[in-house]
């Protein structure tokens, strides 16, 4: 259970984005979490709500997109989708594969309201 420290990293990224853009309020945070990332989406939402309090993310919605497991076969170079471990190439049956997707955990985008520019 390290969702708290991971979510702190998420907020570091959000805060940097908020600072460098002209953001009044964050409405939605879109995360991408691989199926093999060992991160529990329910815990993320719970912790997000706590850490968002008093920030520009307060009241924002957290969307977690689950990313599929993809791998490449080292024997026949086939790219394939896997359900989980063990990863076996569907084309040649080889178990010599490497993971190309499904372990990622990233902030994809923010949906925001911008500051109203004063033209006075």
């Amino acid at each position: 259970m390290h969702e708290m420290s991971l979510m702190s990293e998420v907020f570091e990224i959000i805060n940097q984005t908020v600072e460098t853009n002209n953001i009044r309020q964050v409405k939605k945070v879109n995360l991408q979490v691989g199926r093999l990332a060992n991160v529990a989406p329910d815990s993320l939402s719970f912790i997000f709500g706590i850490l968002a309090q008093g920030t520009k993310c307060q009241g924002a919605c957290l969307m977690v997109e689950e990313m599929p497991v993809t791998a490449n076969c080292l024997t026949c170079d086939q790219e394939f989708h896997g359900e989980g471990f063990p990863l076996i190439c569907p084309a040649c049956g080889s178990r010599e594969t490497y993971i190309t997707g499904g372990t990622e955990f990233r902030v994809a985008s923010l949906e925001v309201d911008e500051e109203v520019k004063s033209n006075n």
Binding site: H2, E9, P86
Partner: protein
């Protein structure tokens, strides 16, 4: 006032991985091979370190001990003359690269050698965080059961070397060699597996030789 979507696409592990690369490269320049030792609580991580060190007479060895609480292992290692520093995470379930980078300031590295970093006893989180290692060593004891590769696949998938400890207990705990091996090989076809026994020291000479070969 208008709604707007801002693309970010930034990996949560980016900052950790960036620092891990710095640690990895700076220690490599000093001639240090860094071993990240992962395993469940009680798997025999510290006992394995002691036995590996005994079989590395010509190597300078450094140890960073990671524990949630206590300095029991550090005291044990220091009594044997092994240069050791302690990290207490006070609850955190794994070590990360910033923690290692900071703790390295306390460690005097005066000659090339091997740095063992004993991660927190846990088969889940340590596998996900790079800490600057060159080698991920997984310590798994026969007493934990032969089903561990099936239950904790990521740790086995990422391991560069596996030590099966407490092999003298196999008969008492109905350890199924064939089932264990099949599980490991499904995840990691070529990882070397060493069967060891820290009580007698059996098998550790081979492990230490593997480390020396890896370093040179």
């Amino acid at each position: 006032m208008s709604g707007k979507k801002i693309e970010v696409i930034q990996n949560i592990f980016d900052e950790n991985d960036r620092i891990a690369s710095i640690v990895n490269e700076s220690l490599e320049q000093l001639g240090i091979l860094v071993i990240n030792i992962m395993g469940a609580p009680g798997a025999g991580k510290t006992s394995s370190i002691i036995n590996m060190v005994k079989n590395l007479p010509g190597e300078k060895v450094y140890v960073i001990e990671g524990d949630i609480e206590s300095d029991i292992d550090t005291v044990k290692l220091k009594e044997l003359g092994i240069e050791t520093i302690q990290i207490n995470t006070n609850g955190a379930c794994h070590l990360d690269a910033p923690t290692i980078e900071k703790s390295l300031q306390e460690l005097t590295i005066d000659q090339p050698g091997i740095l063992f970093i004993e991660n927190i006893g846990n088969l889940v989180c340590p596998a996900e965080f790079q800490i600057g290692e060159h080698v991920k060593m997984l310590i798994c004891s026969a007493a934990e059961g032969s089903d561990k590769p099936y239950k904790y696949p990521l740790a086995f998938e990422k391991a560069n070397i596996i030590l099966l400890t407490k092999c003298d207990l196999k008969a008492y705990v109905d350890f199924n060699d064939e089932f264990f091996l099949r599980g490991v090989r499904a995840l990691n076809k070529s990882v070397p597996i060493f069967e060891v026994n820290a009580k007698t020291g059996a098998g550790f000479q081979e492990v230490s030789q593997w480390l020396i070969n890896r370093k040179n």
